[in-house]
């Protein structure tokens, strides 16, 4: 769990862990696993339907090739919108769609940048459920959040980023 005020460098940190940014100093030691990342930009194609978007990522990630997409959509409670173009979804529904990608990568290190943003109460507990299941299966996640903590029953280490200098 990474917390801290706006602009303190949480996203920078998670992007460095994801390998999208180079760290200006220091060393990064990561487990030898794949990385699943859900950031501010969700990676959804507006002209494609929710199902097509997920089908693409299912084919794209080795763990998701034989997945039952409809079951995953059901789990994220967006099955009813499966055939709608992603652009017609609300911000919370888009977030659920992006988070559904995590289901394809149970073995990966999850990097979640503000996973709770834009979600309603049910959505929040969905994320908690995903994290709980991931931890039970031995998975690890780095969750960046500035206003909501992961549930208490999860084994959590919290890093509070105070200022840019903590990251740099």
């Amino acid at each position: 769990m990474v917390t801290g005020a706006n602009g303190c460098g949480k996203t920078t940190l998670i992007r460095i862990i994801a390998g999208l940014l180079d760290a200006s100093s220091g060393a990064l030691h990561l487990p030898e696993t794949a990385i699943a990342y859900v950031g501010h930009y969700l990676g959804l194609k507006d002209t494609m339907t929710v199902r097509e978007n997920l089908q693409f990522y299912a084919r794209f990630t080795s763990g998701g090739r034989d997945r039952d997409i409809d079951a995953d959509l059901e789990r994220m409670q967006i099955r009813a919108h499966a055939d709608q173009p992603a652009r017609s979804l609300s911000a919370g529904q888009r977030k659920r769609c992006a988070l559904a990608r995590l289901l394809f990568q149970p073995d990966a290190l999850w990097l979640l940048d503000e996973p709770y943003a834009n979600l309603d109460a049910e959505g929040l507990s969905l994320v908690d459920g995903l994290l709980r299941e991931h931890q039970q299966q031995g998975g690890m996640a780095v969750v960046v959040s500035h206003n909501r903590m992961v549930p208490d029953d999860l084994e959590t280490k919290t890093l509070r980023v105070e200022a840019w200098s903590d990251v740099l």
Binding site: D22, Y37, Y41, L42, M48, E52, R59, F60, R65
Partner: protein, 222 residues
Amino acid sequence: MNNTFIALLRRDFLMVLRNKSEWLQPLFFLVVVVSLFPLGLGPGPTLLSRIAPGVVWIAALLASVLSLDHLFRSDYEDGSLEQLMLGNQSLSLLVLAKLLAHWLTTGLPIIALSPLLAVWLNLPMEAFPTLVKSLVLGTPVLTLVGGIGAALTVGLRGGGQLLALLVFPLLVPVLIFATMGVSAVAGGMEATAQLGLMFAYLIMALTLAPFACAAALRISIS
């Protein structure tokens, strides 16, 4: 063939087909530019037939470069590019899938339209096959080399103009060899040498451009 390669190729192809303006706009541009020449220069068949290879090729080059700005931009803006980079696949291979989708939706229609444009410009019949051959060899180079520029400018506002400035010098050899070749055949000579050089340029672009694009995208995203 690699699954992720096919998945990405399919996705890009589907998206371009859905967004009709993306693939129709370059073709429309090509047709308009070529049809303006007879209007501007007069319908004299001798003059038109002499400039036909150059006009078709310049229009094809501009149409292709015009469409390159979209190549990585939507992926960059919606976060898809980050997802592609995080996968286990080599980014160069994924870039190649995107470039292939671009060529299939831009280069291939240009090739299909070229005989019609050649008829408009009164290009001698015997030069038609060479024009098509030059486009078959040349349009992938436009996509591949243009892709490097698109990857470098993807994060910049108004990157389109810079993209054109960056890639035009690299595309000049293609333009020269192609128009020389087609003109040679129209004048009753052979074009083997010119087409051979174009083939060599294509091989070079095919081998190097995906790596250059991947490196440029990594720079753009960080």
